[in-house]
């Protein structure tokens, strides 16, 4: 029986219980990942991180949450009260909903009922996730707009521009997966990776997805919209207490959601690592949950690692990277993959396929060499001081000033 059929047979109480469990797990993971992030980033900077509340500071995030909830809930006079309240709710709801189509386990015995840990299996599951992520952007825009204040408005616009731009690249990177899996249903995509993960088969797609999911979640090094040191705090500047906590929650659940989607689409979802397939039967199939979360937390670690390593990008560089690098590359890659796929399906002779791949490789290398040569030319010109005056204003270089004074 396929996963979709199994889910279709779920009685109401199973569906309800699944929903509550997914919610509980997401909130719990958020609390733990806030703690984990602070500890890991601290270790990367040779600090120890929170270690006071509870063993190893494990309760730190919980205590922070309580503190947040007990704070005064301010609504600015200039704010649009209704929208101001609704915005964080939209954000939070949207990112939880993405989890509805993510398969967390294979077939398991759920209180005497055989099912899979997945709320529902849409035939367009991944599109649903992308759509829900777009709804989440409304939370950001509305929060920025309804605050009735300048910085949140600018931050909200920046955030939404960023999320929308990277959603394009993200959506395009998934197309290759759809082409290979022949489906948009999450469970079928997982099943299609039985032999080889798409992260290996469609490596460029995986890389593009991995980059754009960082942009999509407003995380370092793409956290320009809430750059703490430069802007006041972005769209949530005017928020306090529980409403701020909701944005905080949605940010982390969003990270988990894109990581879960990446796991499902590229790393074989709940399936065990290659060669460890026998573990999938352990605990009556529940061990697949462990595999799933190992992969998700692996992604989370990479998120933290990025934050600990890379400095923040400049906004124009960031947008340029999204529109002029990620999107064209994914478009070209999709064309390539689609052509190959069609060739295989139509049973093209191996020679034709070989010539096609070879010529594409030649073109790719040619473009690369041309770009490299241009780069070298610029560097050479700079070195020979032919164009010592750049076309943007620069501060006076200290040396030349001393020379002027001395001379």
């Amino acid at each position: 029986m396929s996963n979709a059929e199994l889910i279709g047979q779920d009685p109401g109480w199973v569906i309800a219980l699944k929903g509550v469990l997914i919610f509980a797990v997401c909130v719990f993971l958020t609390i733990m990942s806030v703690w984990g992030e602070r500890r890991i980033v601290a270790r990367m900077q040779q600090r120890s991180g929170p270690n006071r509340v509870g063993k190893f500071g494990l309760l730190q995030a919980l205590v922070d949450g309580v503190k947040l909830a007990l704070k005064e809930d301010l609504i600015p006079k200039a704010a649009d009260r209704v929208v101001f309240v609704i915005a964080p709710i939209i954000s939070t709801t949207a990112c939880f909903m993405a989890f509805a189509v993510i398969p967390l386990t294979g077939q398991v015995n759920f209180f005497g009922h055989t099912t899979v840990m997945q709320m529902t299996d849409l035939s367009v599951g991944v599109l649903y996730v992308l759509a829900i992520a777009s709804v989440g952007v409304y939370g950001i825009v509305l929060a920025g707009w309804s605050s009735g204040s300048t910085y949140p408005l600018l931050g909200g616009l920046r955030s939404s521009a960023q999320v929308i731009s990277y959603e394009v690249a993200m959506g395009l990177s998934l197309v290759a997966v759809f082409i290979y899996a022949g489906s948009m249903s999450t469970s079928e995509i997982v099943a299609a990776q039985d032999r080889l993960w798409f992260a290996v088969l469609l490596f460029p797609s995986f890389i593009i997805y991995a980059i754009s999911m960082v942009g999509e979640t407003n995380r370092a090094p793409f956290d320009l919209a809430e750059a703490e040191g430069e802007l006041v705090g972005g769209f949530h500047t005017e928020y306090s207490s529980l409403k701020f906590a909701l944005f905080f929650l949605s940010e982390y659940v969003n990270i988990l959601a894109v990581s879960a989607l990446a796991t499902t689409l590229f790393l074989g979802g709940y399936k065990a690592l290659p060669g460890l397939g026998f573990t999938e039967q352990w605990l009556g199939g529940w061990f697949t949950l462990v595999w799933f979360f190992v992969k998700v937390l692996g992604f989370f670690f990479v998120f933290v690692w990025l934050r600990g390593t890379l400095p923040r990008l400049r906004y124009d560089q960031f947008m340029k990277f999204g529109w002029k690098v990620l999107i064209p590359i994914s478009l070209a890659w999709i064309l390539f993959v689609a052509t190959l796929r069609v060739m295989f399906q139509q049973g093209a002779p191996q020679l034709v396929v070989g010539v096609f791949v070879f010529s594409i490789a030649i073109i790719f290398i040619g473009i690369n060499t041309l770009l490299d040569r241009k780069k070298v030319d610029v560097a050479k010109a700079l070195r020979e001081n032919k164009s010592s005056d750049p076309d943007f204003p620069v501060p006076v270089i200290p040396n030349s000033r001393t020379e002027q004074i001395n001379g």
């Binding site: 270790r43 040779q46 001395n406």
Partner: protein, 207 residues
């Protein structure tokens, strides 16, 4: 003039005169592979010993000349060194010190010489621990200790009175007021010729 700006050492690997004079040569950004090395740095650091000192439980000693709380010192016989001259208060850039001097009277002597500090207050909400008061003090009455735990909950508690600032009575010292060492004047004190108390000055502390 440029020579004056040359740093005395490049101990910290910071500015180096030659470096600042050399033309900038590297116009190419680091290669992609080199940039990836940054990830190795942060990963490696995770397994290093953390630098954090678990402060309230573990206290590392300060540098020997750390500027901490002030102390008003005493002569070896227990008389105060402060003469109430107010030079410290005048030197203070933060206006944190308040001094009122008074005359030493016969039978009520606090310091050798004519005057002593009757009121001495340091406001630690204002003090910036620059140490200019210590440089200004002509009798070495005012010095700084290494004590840095000065936080408190009210403003009043952070204005330290003379009693809070006076150094403790050591063995052989007699609590003032008491007369000077027999047959000496204040210059003997400043030359360091008084090395302890005399029975005629009072009962000395003995531990």
């Amino acid at each position: 003039m440029a020579e004056d700006l040359v740093p005395r050492s490049d101990e910290f690997g910071l500015a180096h005169a030659d470096q600042s004079k050399a033309p900038i040569t590297n116009h190419e950004s680091a290669s992609f592979g080199k940039q990836l090395l940054g990830f190795w740095v942060t990963f490696k650091t995770m397994f290093k010993k953390v630098n954090t000192v678990q402060y309230p439980e573990v206290k590392e000693p300060t540098a020997p000349r750390f500027h901490g709380r002030h102390q008003l010192n005493r002569h070896p016989d227990g008389l105060e060194k402060c003469i109430g001259c107010e030079l410290c208060a005048w030197a203070c850039p933060a206006d944190a010190i308040y001094v009122e001097g008074a005359d030493n009277k016969e039978g009520e002597r606090f310091s050798p010489g004519e005057r002593y500090g009757k009121v001495y207050q340091i406001n630690y909400l204002r003090c910036i621990f620059c140490g200019l008061c210590i440089e200004a003090c002509p009798t070495r009455a005012l010095t700084m200790t290494n004590e840095y735990e000065l936080a408190d909950s009210t403003r009043e508690k952070l204005i330290f009175e003379k009693d809070d600032l006076l150094g403790p009575l050591r063995a052989g010292m007699v609590p003032p007021p008491h007369p000077m060492y027999p047959n000496t004047d204040d210059s003997n004190y400043y030359r360091g010729e008084v090395t302890g108390s005399h029975p005629s000055q009072g009962v000395a502390k003995n531990d």
